[in-house]
């Protein structure tokens, strides 16, 4: 438990430093939010008035302290441009992105874990070469390019899956409780909505996951190869244990930790990369929200997005640590 407490304090500290860095960076990046807020032909007087209303005339340290003070009370502030509490904006934008990342992660795990294990088992065979070729291609394709090609071929030419959006047009008025349409579909017993949302997720999620899957696959393969060379595998084989039993019962649990650590980090990276597929597939989400905020110099909104992505990143890593702890009881003694 002491270990987890330590991790928690460390995470809080990381978040604080992240906030500080983002806040400072957003000040260094040129751009004046007051000019944008004042609109065309505003005149210097009005810009100055807005600058002081927005608190931008205060010294940077004071601005930062005010911001952190509000943050400590759970107040992310108001967006200068949507005039809404940023928290509300994020509650609307985060679920579509998280849904996308979760499905992409499922695709990632379903492909890279079994393929990694098998290609390690059949190391240096033709099958292994094929898998490595796939990983190499996957790692080399830029996300936006994959997304465009899949959209044009599978969505546009073949019309097998939708081109864009989160739901089909007839569901445009659909409102759920959570903002996660897959979950909302299930909660409300609307399987039609569930499957429609899933159909809209396949191409974007696959485009987003390909690069990460390639990396996950290589890491899993490498970790498993070294496990297959260990003495306990030799012992199990001499005791005539079946090959599936060796693979799944012995090698997999022992070789999984390095991959799990990477998958945990990939979750956060994916969330940061959603904008690439969100723009192409016309999906709402935190990536598009962030881009808009950056182009308008909506500093508080930008910092809030970075903070939320940071929290998700840390949470994903905490979950992975917890999983490793459960998988490997020896960890308790190490710590």
């Amino acid at each position: 438990m002491h270990y987890f407490f330590q991790r928690f304090v460390f995470s809080l500290l990381s978040l604080f430093i992240l906030t500080l860095i983002t806040f400072l960076l957003s000040q260094v990046v040129p751009g004046d939010p007051a000019i944008v807020a004042a609109g065309p032909n505003a005149g210097a007087e009005k810009i100055e008035l807005l600058r002081s209303e927005m608190g931008l005339d205060k010294p940077l340290t004071q601005q930062f302290l005010i911001y952190v003070g509000k943050l400590a009370q759970g107040d992310l502030g108001k967006s200068w441009f949507t005039h809404q509490p940023i928290l509300e904006d994020l509650i609307r934008e985060l679920p579509p992105s998280l849904e996308l990342v979760i499905i992409a992660m499922v695709i990632n795990l379903v492909i890279s874990l079994p393929l990694g294990l098998c290609s390690a088992r059949y190391n240096d065979t033709r099958f292994d070469s094929l898998v490595r070729l796939f990983a190499m291609i996957g790692a080399g394709l830029p996300i936006f390019w994959t997304a465009l090609i899949l959209q044009n071929v599978i969505g546009g030419e073949l019309q097998l899956l939708p081109i864009a959006g989160r739901l089909s047009f007839e569901y445009r008025a659909f409102e759920g409780y959570t903002g996660f349409f897959l979950l909302d579909g299930l909660i409300l017993g609307r399987l039609d909505v569930f499957f429609d949302a899933l159909k809209h997720l396949i191409l974007p999620a696959f485009s987003l996951s390909l690069l990460f899957t390639a990396v996950g696959l290589r890491i899993t393969r490498t970790a498993m190869i070294s496990e297959f060379q260990k003495d306990y595998v030799l012992l199990a084989r001499t005791k005539a244990a079946s090959e599936p039993r060796i693979m799944f019962k012995h090698v997999f649990p022992n070789g999984a930790p390095p991959s799990l650590t990477v998958f945990g980090m990939q979750f956060g990276w994916m969330l940061g990369a959603t904008v690439l597929v969100e723009e192409i597939y016309g999906r709402p989400g935190i990536g598009r929200y962030a881009v808009k905020a950056v182009t308008q110099s909506d500093i508080h909104a930008v910092v809030a997005v970075v903070l939320v992505v940071g929290i998700v990143f840390l949470l994903a890593n905490l979950v992975v640590d917890l999983l490793l702890y459960i998988l490997n009881p020896r960890g308790r003694m190490d710590k």
Binding site: V29, P30, G31, D32, P33, I35, V36, A37, A38, G39, P40, N41, A42, G43, A44, E45, K46, I47, L49, L50, E53, K78, F81, T82, H83, Q84, R92, E93, P96, L148, Q151, N152, G155, G156, Q159, P162, I163, A164, G165, R166, S168, F169, E170, R172, A173, E279, I280, Y281, G282, R283, P284, G285, R288, Y289, K292, V294, T295, Q296, S297
Partner: protein, 518 residues
């Protein structure tokens, strides 16, 4: 094809459910779906200067007067008629007595006064173009008097962007932000459509308002849907699959190819949005010298830009005003002439100098224009450094003369079709970048200012035309800008769309209230 079937059945259900309440003479049915690449910030009429906000509001709210799509002069909307005092300082409006807001309340002059008071209290961007507007007061229930600090010729035109809100609806939500938070996500208008869904990064849905005071003669759609699709190729795919009817942001090449394709139409609106290279006329460096600017002014091939970058969609400019506008003076800017420029460079020994241009690389035609200028200048031995920026960053650099680069690219989007909105914005010294305006050439000439101010305060159109013509000639003689292009507003749409007309007073919007879909 399955999608089309689903859409068709959705239309049928919708048109059935929504068409019933309307009168038998009108046909209000079907759905119009518009793709848009940029998401709206909010729904607040205070922000109607922003086209992504304005395109939603233009049919949700009414103004006292309005430019109908395709027209360049105002028509009465909520006002029936108006009188201007002899000194030009007081405008008295008679307003309609039969107008109902979407909440059912009736419009009176109290709503008009409340609207303007709120905009003033909120330092609304939309008031920037209202000139010396001072205050509004209700004379009786249907008479409003507006007072100006100085006469302002285009005042009536400027009112077309002042959308009247329902006092009864907004007042309870004023809180400490002048109702900005509430109006950002709610609407309180009297227009033909009301907002039914507002998901600003995904979809905005408008529904025809049954009790619209203007009635529903002719063909209209029952529902308008804006879908936010950033990627041009996605907009094209959706247009082709029938999932959107209007796709304004596809590439020029794709627009060109759709011109001859069955089932599609490409509309070219005579937009009046000049794109400039503005030279820092107040610079201590070379661009501060008018003879150097005379050389620069001849180094850009507008025809090449129009033919290849804009694929012919646009008007060839010879000065900042569109050629067919009141007051346009011909050939106030020098034509492309590299030989003449070369001669000036040789005479003055300017070869070897370095200039900097700032621009928005996200705008394709700006990027292309910068590349052309770079290449032409390098032939003269002048190096042009290009610095791409975001809008807020570029706007911040011109706040100060010291940080203003030699050349800036900027679009001028006039908020109403009047020479004032282009010439005063781009060349009056009151509007220099360091004064918080869009005259990024930091151009200051007291005689030009006097002409522009006199034209702005006059109500006599022929006098104004003469003054503007004179101002353009004086400006042209000092070479503060190259007007790169007057791009057309090119919008691709399904041929099922009927009634679309480009609106010069509401650039980058769609007259969805006049459109029907077959």
């Amino acid at each position: 094809m399955k999608i089309c079937n689903l859409l068709a059945s959705a239309f049928t259900v919708l048109s059935f459910s929504l068409a019933i309440p309307f009168t038998a003479t009108a046909d209000v049915a079907g759905t119009l779906i518009i793709a848009e690449n940029e998401t709206p910030e909010n729904l607040d009429p205070a922000n109607a200067t922003n086209s992504t906000v304005n395109q939603l509001l233009v049919g949700v709210y009414d103004a006292l007067v309005q430019f109908k799509a395709g027209e360049t002069s105002v028509s009465p909307q909520l006002a029936t008629d108006w009188q201007v005092s002899d000194d030009g300082l007081q405008y008295t409006f008679k307003i309609r007595s039969d107008v109902k807001f979407h909440d059912g309340s009736s419009m009176t002059s109290a709503d008009v006064v409340f609207t303007l008071d709120r905009l003033q209290a909120a330092s609304a961007a939309v008031l920037n173009d209202m000139g010396p507007f001072k205050s509004a007061e209700a004379i009786d229930d249907y008479t409003v008097k507006m007072t100006l600090e100085a006469p302002f010729g285009p005042f009536i035109s400027a009112l077309s962007r002042i959308y009247i809100v329902s006092k009864a609806q907004v007042e309870p939500h004023m809180s400490d932000d002048n109702g900005r938070g509430w109006l950002a996500v709610n609407a309180a208008g009297s227009g033909p459509y009301s907002v039914s869904t507002y998901k600003p990064t995904e979809v905005v849905t408008l529904n025809a308002f049954e009790g619209y005071w203007g009635g529903w003669d002719g063909d209209h759609v029952a529902e308008v849907v804006f879908r936010y699709i950033a990627e041009p190729s996605t907009q094209l795919a959706l247009l082709k699959s029938g999932e959107v009817h209007i796709a304004p942001d596809i590439t020029v090449q794709d627009k060109l190819s759709l011109m001859d394709a069955d089932g599609f139409r490409v509309d070219i609106g005579a937009a009046a949005t000049p794109l400039y290279f503005q030279f820092n006329t107040s610079s201590d460096g070379l661009v501060g010298d008018a003879s150097f600017r005379k050389m620069l002014a001849q180094t850009f091939d507008r025809k090449l830009h129009l033919d290849y970058v804009l694929q012919g969609f646009g008007t060839m400019p010879d000065g900042p005003l569109p050629p067919d506008w009141m007051g346009h003076s011909t050939s106030t800017e020098l034509p492309f002439n590299m030989a003449a420029a070369k001669e000036l460079v040789d005479q003055n020994g300017w070869a070897g100098s370095t200039l900097k241009v700032r621009y928005l690389p996200a705008i394709e035609e700006e990027q292309a224009a910068v590349e052309q200028l770079q290449s032409n200048l390098s032939q003269l031995g002048i190096k042009l450094e290009a610095e791409g920026m975001t809008w807020p960053a570029q706007a911040a650099t011109v706040q100060d003369l010291d940080t203003t680069s030699d050349i800036n690219m900027i679009y001028n989007f006039p908020s109403f079709p009047d020479p004032h909105a282009i010439l005063n914005t781009s060349f009056n010294s009151q509007n220099t970048g360091y004064n918080g305006g869009y005259n990024w050439a930091q151009y200051s000439n007291s005689e030009v200012d006097a002409l522009l101010n006199q034209a702005a305060s006059s109500a006599d159109q022929s006098e104004r035309a003469t003054l503007y013509a004179k101002a353009q000639q004086m400006i042209g003689a000092e070479y503060p800008v190259i007007t790169v292009s007057l791009p057309g507003s090119v919008v691709a749409m399904s041929s099922a769309v009927k009634g679309y007309r480009y609106s010069v007073a509401h650039h980058q919007t769609f007259n969805y209230m006049d459109i029907s879909v077959d």
